[in-house]
Amino acid sequence: MRTYDRDEIVDVVVVGTGAGGAPLLARLAGRGLKVVALEAGPNTDPDGFTNDEVEAPRINWMSERLSGGGDPTAFGTNNSGFGVGGGTLHWGAFTPRPDARDLRLRTESGVGEDWPIDHAELTRYVAEVERTIGVSGPTPYPWDPEREYLEPPVDRNAPADLMAAGCARLGIRATDAPAAILSRDRDQPHFGNRRSSQNLGSIHQGERYGTKATTANTYLPAAVADGAEIRPDSMVHGIELDAQGRVGAVVYRHDGKEYRQRCANLVLAGGGIETPRLLLNTGLANSSGQVGRNFLAHGGVQVWGRFDEQIRGYRGYPSSLISEDFVRPEGVDFAGGYLLQSLGVMPLNYATTVIRGAGLWGAELMNALDAWRYSAGIGINGECLPAENNRLVLSDELDEWGVPRALVTFTAGANENAITEHATATMTRILEAAGALETRVLARTAHTLGTCRMSADPATGVIDAEGRSHDIPNMWISDNSTFPSSLSANPCLTQMALSLRTADLMLR
């Protein structure tokens, strides 16, 4: 790996190596820029991942965050990446494309926000990401006849079979989910062999065989091959401005010592919590007062059905069936909609959800755990509207790097609750149609979006439509904090596409 002197003014420093940071890093390095990525977490070789749920969180951001509001959102394994690869080390690799209607939600419904981005332009980048990382899926795709997946879909597991049967009985369209899981072995440039799907249900714990795309087995090795330097275990906590109010350097902590890297441009890609935390702590880029506002968490309610047979949904790609029939459901009084995905989950994850989401204890809890192997789930990714009071602020408690911990307040609004209610009814019907003996609803939210949102108007957001700070001309943000609205599609594929787009706009 090429290295740069800390006193050298490198072209770009990128903070974070997840879905927002890595594609951009690779693009900029590929065009010959001198780029350095600073990553708070460690670098892990593929065989350093473990699927043991107790120990796997070494790839998650486990430094505590504080959660408040009416519907406190869970962090830790539920919501954070840590290490070279960021959130893509533990993501579920579910890769729906963003729906054009979701990008114009405000125009369509009068609530939420529009994206200041053209859907066709975004889709070109999405297709490029799919090609680069290897996304498998069905062609033709029922909700988008134009779309072509280069890899055939991976196997359906037992929960997918049941959801498919239930949907078929009800006339709901459902098909193999697009997934960033290879269905054929491939030689990934600058990384090496990635194996075809091994039907692993433990991909959220980190995956050793490369069947799942991460930035660590795709964009990052490409970036390094083109001269990028990645510094792991490097936590950025300061940003220095020059006399003109432009970023001149970042300050970070590595091995207990403080370092400073000079740079001509800065890209923040620390994710929906860490980027606003850094900006609030440094007091930068916040003339709009929007940093930390409009925290969005996708609705993630799940319904589980118990069946006669052993389902063992921890086998196989966990969400191998999708339905986009409810992106705009008919006859409803809410804005936006939701995606459905079949669910198989790992045991500790399930236990945690039944405890926190359904209040179980004692014999009833043990029975639920015994019933887990007979259970199949369906979950949603539901639109979340921006709300002024769902926000991230700094608490007065310091973390291990001396930075105030984030306090995130979230309360689901009427629209979110209406979506949850509609989706719960839909999923229950599907499971019952599939023959479930009983069903159970588990509450959950997922993802951390919107806290440094993109806006055409500098008064209502933190970055412009290109990804550049409204206030600081050489500071850019490329991560989930920039989402103006949540979209019904899960965010990671869109994020990687946005990352390439921002890189191209920086290179202009």
């Binding site: 962090f75 037992a158 079979d161 249900g201 433990s202």
Partner: protein
């Protein structure tokens, strides 16, 4: 009480072979009626087995691990080891607990006048004398007899003495020399660190360097859970001098560790032991499978708080039968490591403080006469009230420092922590039908699942998980 059948692996001392396990095996048979199988191991250069490739303790451990891997059946086992075998056992145990051996089921150790992981104390005169015995090839009848005589408190019976001498005479001079000049002087203590498992150390009062008075100093840091037993009128050759007492202690350790801890069936044990399971994962499972220390001293909580936590654990995550995980002790140990799940509710005290406040508060509210039907009903009402939030208004001990939502939120964390600890035990995995740990092997061949349909399983999966595809 019926105990699951299991295996005792025996690693002999310098000069002795697998046959040295004989008297102990006989004593065990008399005592335990065949429920324990004894497998003696010929370490390299002993009793006719070929010499090791080099003189390191690791090379001796390699052979021991090979035999254990080949002979283990997936069920529980204990390693008993004498003298030199004790040092080898430290290495073997370290490997097993790190998952670096394809075995599963280690329950504890019975060490007999063991050589420690640090350089074995031995006078240079004695070393020189012993080395001189093999200057001209295999040890002579006379020196072998002298060696036995030097190492016993009272003369062995004629048959035992003859057996011991025969084994000594078959030993390779190279192995003898290597142990005295290499293996015994190796310092492995920093590699091995702490081995936190059930251990009993027996030693004779008439042994010198490795005797009863020396052992605690040599081993207490390596084996924090070790119980030291000193045997009067006993020298160094415990397998011959005190076979009955050794057998007694083996059974005692077995009964204290195997029936008290949840066990997996041998089929599950073999799956954990197999190449399909990554070494690291096997190590995690090996640690979790160990019986809890009945004398566990809490590191973060007070003894009263630990008792309260145990009472809560019994209600929140009930375990039936006598084989149990001490969930409360494991929560305390996790708290001491400052493990966190990455978030907490706004205003909630940090984990350790929440546990202390919460347990103190509950002690004041807890109806604790467990024999009383009413008490159980009252406990249920209390638990329900906390979970639902109905009790949030209920005055808490500690006043403002511990208000009602804190209690409710802590209770969510508590239930989650207890459940995750219970569930991550290998026996719980088996109970709920989870074998995903066995999809983490080396990256060739089929590492995951071929069959993912309902009701079906792959050939390598435990039979109760479905029909073959």
């Amino acid at each position: 009480m019926t105990t699951p059948a299991g295996t005792i692996f025996f690693l002999p001392g310098l000069g002795f072979g697998a046959a040295a396990a004989g008297p102990i095996a006989d004593a065990l048979d008399a005592l335990a009626g065949g429920r324990l199988r004894v497998v003696g191991i010929d370490l390299p250069g002993h009793d006719g087995s070929p010499d090791a490739p080099n003189g390191s303790v690791a090379a001796l451990a390699d052979r021991a691990v090979q035999v254990i891997e080949a002979e283990a059946d997936g069920g529980p086992f204990v390693i008993a080891a004498h003298s030199m075998g004790g040092k080898v056992t430290a290495v073997v145990t370290d490997r097993i607990l790190r998952g670096r051996a394809n075995v599963f089921g280690l329950a504890g150790l019975v060490l007999l006048a063991p050589s420690p992981p640090t350089p074995e104390p031995m006078s240079e005169d004695k070393r020189a004398e012993m080395l001189s015995w093999v200057d001209d090839g295999p040890i002579s009848q006379g020196h072998a007899s002298e060696f036995v005589a030097q190492n016993v408190a009272a003369p062995l019976g004629e048959a035992a003495a003859r057996a011991a001498v025969e084994q000594l005479r078959r030993m390779s001079p190279l192995a003898w020399r290597r142990w005295l000049t290499e293996g015994s002087v190796e310092d492995l203590s920093s590699d091995i660190g702490v081995l936190d498992l059930p251990v009993v150390v027996l030693a004779g009062e008439d042994d010198d360097d490795l005797g009863a008075s020396a052992q605690p100093q040599l081993l207490a840091d390596v084996y924090p859970r070790a119980r030291f037993v000193s045997l009067a009128s006993t020298g160094h050759l415990l397998p011959y001098e005190r076979a009955a007492e050794v057998a007694d202690e083996i059974v005692r350790l077995w009964d204290a560790t195997v029936p008290t801890a949840p066990q997996v069936t041998p089929e599950w044990g073999r799956l954990i032991a197999s190449e399909r399971t990554a070494p690291e994962a096997r190590g995690f499972l090996a640690h979790r499978a160990l019986a809890d220390d009945p004398d566990y001293a809490p590191r973060v909580l007070s003894p009263e708080q630990l008792s309260m936590l145990r009472a809560l654990a019994d209600r929140l995550v009930p375990q039936s039968g006598t084989a149990r995980v001490d969930l409360a002790a494991r929560v305390d140990a996790d708290l001491a490591l400052a493990r966190s799940d990455g978030w907490r509710n706004e205003g909630q005290p940090a984990n350790v403080f929440a546990y202390r406040l919460g347990l103190d508060d509950l002690s004041a509210l807890w109806p604790d006469d467990t024999d009383d039907q009413n008490a159980t009903a009252e406990q249920n009402a209390l638990i329900e009230g906390i979970i639902s939030g109905e009790l949030n208004e209920h005055q808490a001990l500690g006043g403002d420092a511990w208000n009602g939502t804190m209690r409710q939120h802590w209770f969510d964390d508590l239930r989650t922590d207890l459940t995750r600890i219970w569930l991550s035990h290998p026996a719980s995995f088996a109970r709920i039908g989870y074998d995903g740990f066995a999809t983490s092997g080396p990256a060739f061949g089929s590492v995951g699942y071929n069959t993912v349909a309902a009701g079906l399983r792959d050939p390598w999966e435990p039979v109760e998980l479905g029909d073959l595809a």
